[in-house]
């Protein structure tokens, strides 16, 4: 690794007690379990990795086709295919532990109890540094979005997970709601240590030739730069509504995008779909942030968070 020069700006952030060397995290579902990108990306350069959403039992996921490109975006209905929490701990986590990077487990349950069980199992394992509670997946029948769009249910999931773990708990919010600040405040009051947003916007694509949906699941979640304006707006709104840290995402491709989210109030950012079109995206964003701060003589990244002048 490169030695830090004296004039290097400070990129380190602390999200509810979790210290990361920089605020750039790869987003759940877009970076596998880390190992998939290990030969492309120097994982040690990242602030954190959020692994693919984990459930108690392995999940098959939805039948294909699962993805479709749209203008500036990607629709997906993967349906939380994952190895399950036990296999994650046995087969995937040991690999991640070899790196100097925060590991955040994204968790999903079909019931309050399942959320709690998954949280409990992950908390016992060394090497998981925080939990991100997915109450916002649009691609599963049970749980997911139905919890996330309802402030009471979202709060209850948060309480149960908090009771089951000592790890910092991030709650990941859906944008498919009338007022995201209501949900954000509800989970904050229920004990969330941070909120991350946004998950995907529910969308659809149609194959005119067959008059069928392009996705077997009919609808899917829209991600990528197409949704960035919506994501930025919500991050800005939520950052003004809650006291806990906000982790922003949605269409971030470049360091400039990431910094815009931070100016809007995000203390850290996640990079999702960008990994697909440029596996080096997250690393390049870290590097770009460093250059930006240097160039603007900003000593610490914290100085720009929430500095939007309206």
């Amino acid at each position: 690794m490169k030695k830090k020069s004296k004039t290097d700006p400070a990129l380190a952030v602390d999200i509810a007690g979790l210290k990361m060397k920089n605020p750039v995290i790869t987003a759940s579902g877009t970076f596998g379990y880390g190992e998939e990108y290990a030969e492309y990306v120097n994982l040690n350069q990242l602030g954190g990795i959020v692994v693919k959403g984990l459930s108690l039992k392995p999940r098959l996921g939805n039948p294909p086709p699962r993805i479709m490109e749209t203008t500036g975006g990607l629709l997906n209905a993967v349906g939380l295919q994952n190895v399950g929490v036990a296999a994650f701990l046995a087969e995937k986590l040991p690999f991640l532990r070899r790196y100097d990077v925060a590991v955040i487990a994204n968790i999903y349950g079909e019931s309050y109890a399942e959320y709690a069980r998954v949280a409990e199992k992950l908390s016992a394992a060394p090497g998981v540094h925080a939990l991100e509670v997915n109450v916002s997946c649009p691609n599963v029948k049970q749980g997911g979005l139905s919890f996330g769009a309802n402030p009471k249910a979202a709060a209850e999931v948060t309480r149960r997970v908090k009771a089951a773990t000592d790890l910092p708990v991030w709650v990941k919010l859906t944008p498919n709601v009338t007022d995201i600040t209501v949900i954000a405040r509800a989970v904050e009051q229920a004990g969330a240590d941070a909120v991350s947003l946004i998950n995907t916007l529910t969308g659809m694509a149609i194959d005119l030739r067959t008059r069928r949906p392009h996705l077997k699941n009919v609808t899917g979640g829209l991600s990528g730069p197409a949704i960035k304006p919506v994501a930025l707006r919500m991050v800005w709104q939520v950052a003004q509504s809650v006291a806990v840290p906000v982790i922003g995402m949605g269409g971030i491709l470049t360091a400039e995008d990431a910094l815009e989210f931070m100016v809007a109030g995000a203390k850290a950012v996640q990079v999702g779909t960008a990994n697909f079109i440029n596996p080096l995206a997250a690393e390049e964003i870290v590097q770009g942030m460093r250059l930006y701060l240097k160039h603007h003589k900003i000593k610490n990244i914290a100085e720009i968070v929430g500095t939007l002048q309206v």
Partner: protein
Amino acid sequence: MTEKAMARNIYLGEVSRNEEVRPDFFLMKIRLPAQFERPLPGQFVMVRVAGLQDPFLSRPLSIYACKQGPRFCTIELLYRVAGKGTRILAGLIPGSQVELSGPLGTGYRVDRTKKNIVLIAGGIGIAPLSLLVRELRRRSCRAADAMTVYLGARTETALVGLDALRQSCSRIIVCTDDGTLGEKAPVTKAFQRDLPKYNPADTALYACGPKPMIRSLAGLLNDQYFCQVSLEERMACGVGACAGCVVAVKDASGNKAYRRVCADGPVFELKDILWE
């Protein structure tokens, strides 16, 4: 070369040739740094025009040929203009830059114990199989007549790669849907007729083509043969991270599972595939 070229498996390549070899079929040569790994037949690259964000995703294309030199590696892609992404690729002129990662995925596994090698290609499925034929001749020292290729297409003008193939293989059975060249029959029909000649014990089959072709092949072979097929699905990441490109298979215990075409494939054992 830029920094991008330094990272493993991710390169900035330069288009050195891009020609329409048949109506709507193009052959693109891309110059890459020498460290581009020697590809296995069946492997592919994800490619996009450097700096362009429309289309949004990279496109998967099989490696059709690869020549490694001391300073550069040149790969060839043989592709059909299917939609927006390939249409844009087709418009690139020599000197254009492409972002490319690869080689990706699994390759065909060559079973040296089998004496009959049979390849079945439908349409642009010829791309990965051509590389396989050349590698078989070169590496396994197979004779040009130790292999049989069944090659099918809609019509004569869609029969790409045939001339090149003739240089490495002398037994080529050509079929077209409209009879403009070779037999007027689906390629699987021609193969079915010859099937009794091929003993399961000493025949290795390799196929690539549209799904209906692969499916009817599965019906013909009935799990009796060693047969590897290369599949195509829409892809986002190309490296196994998004689980977007899955295909249903029977897992080791015979249960249904989804495997990623990009990372667990694109080459699969035909008998593992679940036809739903």
